[in-house]
């Protein structure tokens, strides 16, 4: 359970997988290898501690439904990449930051404070006519699909079904 129990081999294995997934879907991991492996160690610690790899730079509650938005990749990654060139912990960076054209600094927290999180949930409404299928939105990358159920795995960013919300 201790951080020191995480082996270099585990870090490298996860690092390789995340890098492959990122490259395949147009994302970039932070090119600073020491920085990235420290973060990946934190993800592995959280995976063991909570059963899911929540953001190493955020406090997880330990209740999976309440922490779902901060499971890496978090719901806030893409807007932070756009605005700051890096996600909150800076595991993921924008292309410009990857190429060294943009400096990566500390990113302000955009996740609503605990009391306001649920109030921020969007209501699926707006269209008058009934749709032939419900529309599901991936909270991580914004992918939309019209089908009875969300896919098991997001075809764009590869997160699991539980990261989808009803959009329409």
């Amino acid at each position: 359970m201790m951080e020191s129990d995480v082996t270099q081999a585990e870090i490298e294995a996860l690092s390789r997988r995340l890098r492959l997934d990122a490259t395949a879907s147009g994302y970039f991991l932070n090119p600073d290898e020491q920085f990235t492996s420290d973060l990946i160690r934190g993800l592995i610690v959280n995976q063991r501690r909570y059963g899911y790899p929540s953001c190493p730079c955020r406090l997880a509650s330990g209740a999976s439904a309440a922490d779902r938005d901060i499971v890496c990749p978090c719901d806030y990654r893409d807007p932070d990449l756009g605005e700051h060139g890096a996600c909150y912990c800076a595991l993921y960076v924008s292309q410009a930051a990857f190429k060294g054209e943009k400096r990566i600094g500390s990113v302000p927290e955009r996740r609503p404070a605990s009391g306001r999180r649920e109030a921020g949930e969007k209501d699926p409404s707006g269209l008058q006519a009934p749709l032939p299928y419900p529309v599901w939105r991936c909270r991580v990358c914004g992918y939309l699909c019209a089908r009875e159920e969300p896919p098991e795995i997001c075809p764009i960013c590869k997160v699991k079904k539980d990261r989808f919300e009803r959009f329409l």
């Binding site: 160690r41 610690v45 190493p56 730079c57 955020r58 406090l59 997880a60 912990c89 500390s106 302000p108």
Partner: protein, 93 residues
């Protein structure tokens, strides 16, 4: 609450709220170490139950979002996140 003390020169009361897994918290500790100031820190993710709640209640007074790292200076000012300039500025003289 489990406070860890790091000795250095006295720059007033400094309390750092951190997560043991957070890289920006590590950077903040390294900066304070480099500046050779004494400070207390608490690893909030390693606390459980009431102890965690009470640490978060304390932190909320200074940083309602309870994000990490949070550096509380002299029980009044709070520097949120790893902000080297702000930290150096706050601890000047």
């Amino acid at each position: 609450m489990q406070l860890h003390r790091v000795e250095g020169s006295d720059c007033g009361s400094l309390r750092l709220y951190t997560l043991s897994t957070c890289i920006w918290c590590k950077k903040t500790k390294a900066l304070l170490q480099e500046m050779n100031v004494s400070y207390d820190y608490v690893e909030v993710d390693l606390l459980e139950g009431e102890e965690r709640e009470s640490a978060l209640e304390d932190l909320k007074r200074f940083n309602p979002g309870c994000s990490f790292p949070s550096l509380v200076v002299n029980n009044s000012k709070c520097i949120v996140g790893y902000d080297e300039n702000k930290i150096r500025e706050a601890l000047k003289g």
